[in-house]
């Protein structure tokens, strides 16, 4: 060690400042976000339905993911500027207040609940032609957002189930729509939650400025596995977010029916799925279009809900195609519901 230090000592003295500067660029994070193209991920590697297992599926159904880097390092930000396919901007909205790990938690919560929605929609659709198929689900209310002023911020976690609160007059309120009506008189109320380990309660105070508790609760449908046939298994996912909902629904539906809706096509797409089978908007359209194009997909489904809305996903996708010189003919398919996607694939036969 000493011999090397003697030999390299002079170089080290000269290089130490540039070295530390370079390390700073590699480590220091800035309050921006970068969206970059990602890849496609076959849904059957995420969800497996124990049904029709000898059925041969010729094509593939994949969801599309992008790289969403919140608070990139200087270096990540700089290199993203060299690519036409990436988009970066200042971090705003609720994401600006959350840490990266909290954003990741929300993202995985979105993913888990979108898989549940996909299962429910696909099973209900398949059930129409097959009485064997059964689906049961519970409606739960979960913590989806937290404001910085929320009391017990660190104790209440994203995804914790809201059970009830003790409202005015000692009434137990579990319905989301009734919370406002029963929390008029006091400044703080006792909320009851459940996480993976236990039930717990916290006294949550209203913020003096906003008059709000600072907690966002959202209703989700969670599949009751015990009462569902055929059984399915879901693998742990490394890709977060709800935008795979539509494609997950298509893939699960394809596992439940006897025919193969892929017909040998490499199908991808994006769009959240609602419990009524309609699709919802997603973000990062430009990056998803490039991802699909680079992966050579045959069909790419994209939400198209309002032709007069400038930021409608399909219209954004057409603009992205124009920007990158991609011909959207024949593979970019606008859909507003799961049924639209099924009808399109039926028409390709």
């Amino acid at each position: 060690m000493n011999e090397l230090t003697k030999k390299f000592g002079p170089y080290l003295k000269v290089l130490i400042i540039p070295y530390l500067f370079f390390m700073f660029i590699l480590i220091y994070q800035i309050d921006y976000f970068v969206h970059a193209p990602g890849g496609i991920s076959e849904v059957d590697s995420l969800i497996h339905v124990e049904y029709n297992e000898d059925k041969e599926i010729e094509g593939s159904i994949s969801s599309t993911f992008i790289m969403s880097i919140n608070r990139p390092t200087f270096f990540q930000f700089l290199i993203s500027e060299f690519s036409n396919y990436t988009y970066s901007n200042i971090l705003t909205g609720s994401n600006a207040n959350y840490s990266n790990s909290e954003i990741a938690k929300i993202s995985y919560l979105d993913k888990a609940t979108s898989v549940n929605a996909a299962i429910i929609v696909a099973y209900l659709e398949a059930q129409k032609n097959n009485n064997e198929i059964e689906i049961d689900y519970d409606i739960v209310t979960m913590v989806y957002g937290k404001a910085q002023y929320l009391s017990h911020y660190d104790d209440i976690d994203f995804g914790d189930e809201f059970l009830y609160l003790i409202g005015d007059g000692g009434v137990e309120v579990s319905e989301l729509s009734e919370i406002a009506a029963y929390t008029q008189n006091e400044n703080s109320y006792e909320f009851h939650f459940r996480n993976s380990f236990e039930e717990y309660s916290k006294i949550i105070e209203k913020n003096s400025e906003t008059g709000l508790f600072g907690i966002t609760l959202k209703k989700y449908y969670l599949v009751n596995q015990e009462e569902t046939y055929p059984r399915f298994t879901e693998r742990q996912s490394n890709i977060g977010g709800p935008s795979g909902g539509l494609l997950q629904t298509l893939a699960v539906y394809n596992m439940l029916i006897s025919e193969d809706i892929t017909r040998g096509l490499k199908i991808a797409g994006t769009g959240t799925i609602n419990y009524d089978g309609t699709v919802g908007y997603i973000g990062g359209v430009e990056q998803k279009i490039t991802t699909a194009y680079l992966n050579g997909v045959d069909v790419f489904f994209i939400p198209f809900l309002d032709e007069n809305y400038y930021y409608d996903n399909y219209l954004e996708a057409l603009r992205a195609c124009e920007k990158f010189g991609i011909d959207p003919t024949g593979w970019l398919v606008p859909v507003s519901s799961f049924q639209d996607a099924l009808d399109y694939l039926e028409g390709r036969s």
């Binding site: 060690m1 000493n2 011999e3 090397l4 230090t5 003697k6 030999k7 390299f8 070295y19 370079f22 390390m23 590699l26 480590i27 970068v34 970059a36 193209p37 990602g38 890849g39 991920s41 590697s45 995420l46 790289m67 880097i69 990139p72 390092t73 270096f75 990540q76 290199i79 993203s80 690519s83 396919y85 990436t86 693998r235 742990q236 996912s237 490394n238 890709i239 490039t290 991802t291 680079l294 992966n295």
Partner: protein, 122 residues
């Protein structure tokens, strides 16, 4: 292989274990100084240009192999500086050693490309 073992036994007879390890850890410390920023750069490039993942993994394999060669070069240098009059063919020994490790690096890289990365893309 015979030559490799012979060279190792020559080194062991000429250098104490402490000297060999001291040279190794010195080389490791200096290689780490270069490895940390290089691997951080690669990881951050991957995060932004994920759609060329396989290409970057191949580059990482090459980078790790180069770092391994550098480690061995500096190890050799440290030993040479300890005993400048030594007649041992350090170059040959370290080349053998480095290539053995490189084979291992390439195998791990291939495992990542064909097995682990597809498994993680869920």
């Amino acid at each position: 292989m015979k030559e490799f073992c012979k060279l190792w036994s020559m080194i062991k007879s000429e250098f104490s274990n402490k000297e060999i390890l001291d040279g190794f850890f010195g080389a490791l410390a200096y290689t780490t100084l270069i490895a940390i920023p290089s691997l951080l750069v690669m990881a951050q490039i991957i995060s932004v240009f994920m759609y060329r993942l396989t290409f970057w993994v191949v580059l990482i394999i090459i980078l790790v192999a180069l770092l391994n060669n550098l480690l061995h070069y500096w190890w050799m240098l440290a030993l040479k500086l300890k005993k400048p009059d030594s007649t041992i063919n350090f170059k040959r020994l370290m080349f053998f050693n480095a290539q053995l490790v490189n084979v291992f690096v390439v195998l791990i890289g291939l495992l990542f490309i064909f097995i682990f990365i597809p498994m993680m893309m869920v």
